[in-house]
Amino acid sequence: MVYARLILMRLFKAVIVLFLIVIFNFLLIQLAPGDPAAILAGEAGAADQEFLNQLRERFGLDQPMYVQLWRYVSGIAMLDFGYSYRLGVPVFDLIMDRLPATLLLTGTAFVLSLVLGIVAGSMAAARVKKPSGSLIMALALVFYATPLFWVALMSVVVFSVYLGWLPAYGLYTVGAGHTGFALVLDVATHLILPATTLALFFMAIYTRMTRTSMLDAAQQDFVKTARAKGLKPSVIQRRHILRNALLPIITLAGLQAGQMVGGAILTETVFAWPGIGRLMFEALQQRDYNLLLGIFFFSAALVIVFNILTDLVYRLADPRIKGAS
């Protein structure tokens, strides 16, 4: 009951934020030099004024800005995202086409980085003064400090070119005609490199975070009590320390999950992953405003959904926080 009201409130706020984001982005994009008509005409390698005018009229770019804004916002209110200028396909369809690939990539990377990060972090916390613990932390720091795209490039060179173990690009083998389990396997092998690359950076963050908050938690009174009661260190580590240390990690992870879509732009570009990040970058370069705004809308919506989910998980994990607060 309390949850239901809370979620409703959050959703209501979310709608307002999304609305503001739409307007903000719309105005932001108007500042960019060049319009889609000029770019399409430029690409054609030949263009007269008639051609440009035809395009501008078709896209509604000949209207004053406030008319364009009103048209766009009222369209969004009806969940109509318009057509991509360049591709002539409904924006909604394009995004729905690409979203699964991005969710698959970021979802896998997210779970991978969270699980490995927590495991590595708690190992490091348990070996706080030992060389092995320092080694884990040093590795985490190196992963954190290495540019993501560099790792991506190098892993393609090593695993795909020299060793030939994994496919270098794409979502599946084009033309192989796999179905069923073979297709799943095919996609899985294509997923390994991009997901691992994307996960490394975030894993480094979670490792450091887990270790820090576990060491913090270890100082708390209830842990001292547990020790005094003579519980086994491994039990204390798991049941008491880790459980408490998880809370800040959940908060951070929730924030990161939404951001991963943006972070995936580099990974998707290097690995030719047909996801939404790459679509966004292309839309930006083509000044395909409708498409770009649509993607912004969806990625902002994703961030908001993740934030709400984080809140809920947080509440489940920590019974001390009451829904009414």
Partner: protein
């Protein structure tokens, strides 16, 4: 224990500091050791490292000296990191301070504003900003600052909220100090340590962000930054590994050093929290 002694207790931090100092020295010495423009095409293209005297790190796709680029680039990368962090602090600290100090409606409005910025994916926003302003060192610095201030605001707000009811603040209020004096003189100095720690990490992130933007072709073409060097070298990564390797290592080391120093500062400035870590 003195500040430095506490800092030096953390061996990693000491190493980080040494690396950082070396990089700063590199940046300062660049115009002395390589007075010529790093853009000058001085030798045959694609000379491997150590293959010719005077070209320790080889030459790039156009026959430019990689060592010269690396040293001049140190200056640019550090500058971008420092300036964009300063701008982010200039936005984030006042916003966070006001929100945390006054609370209530002001806090609500400012925090919604901050959340709003956090709702648009960071890197995507940076890309759009640079593309709109067209790539230049100013637009890159601004874009990085605009996407990295929200965490500062949140941190400062949290600190202010926990400090604003402390006894010394109440005392200042009783003797009639104005709000601005209290914010600037009483509370702000006490929030400096976490801000400094965060700032050192932000410089590192800014350097990474700049390199990522350059990688996508959104770097400033008039300045030789490490990000530019990797971006320019990525198409030849297979035939000339050294072109992206050395600037890559430079970024890695700098970011690493900044993080180590950040941790050291954290230990030194917040001794209570980090005891036994």
């Amino acid at each position: 224990m003195s500040f430095f002694a506490r800092f030096a207790q953390n061996r990693g931090a000491l190493i980080g500091l040494i690396i950082l100092l070396l990089i700063i020295v590199m940046a300062i010495l660049a115009p002395l050791l390589f007075p010529e423009s790093p853009w000058r095409m001085v030798q045959r293209p694609f000379l491997p490292p150590l293959s010719q005297d005077g070209y320790l790190l080889g030459t790039d796709t156009m026959g430019r000296n990689v060592a010269a680029g690396l040293m001049h680039g140190a200056w640019v990368s550090l500058l971008i990191g420092l300036v964009s962090t300063s701008v982010a602090l200039l936005i984030g600290v006042p916003l966070g301070a006001i929100a945390g100090y006054y609370g209530g409606l002001i806090d609500d409005v400012l925090m919604r504003f901050t959340e709003f910025f956090q709702t648009i994916p960071n890197f995507a926003l940076a890309i759009v900003l640079v593309a709109i302003m067209q790539p230049s060192i100013t637009s890159i610095v601004l874009a990085i600052a605009l996407v990295s201030w929200p965490p500062v605001a949140r941190l400062v707000r949290a600190e202010f909220m926990s400090l604003r009811h402390r006894e010394y603040v109440e005392a200042a209020r009783l003797v009639g100090q104005t709000n601005s004096t209290i914010i600037l003189r009483q509370i702000l100095p006490n929030t400096l340590s976490p801000i400094i720690v965060l700032a050192s990490l932000m410089v590192a992130t800014a350097i990474l962000l700049e390199s990522a933007l350059s990688f996508l072709g959104l770097g400033d073409p008039n300045v030789m930054s490490w990000g530019y060097m990797i971006g320019a070298a990525r198409t030849v990564i297979r035939q000339a590994w050294w072109l992206s390797f050395f600037p890559g290592v430079a970024i890695l080391l700098t970011v690493l050093a900044l993080n180590l120093v950040g941790e050291g500062l954290d230990d030194a400035l917040n001794p209570k929290l980090s005891r036994e870590r």
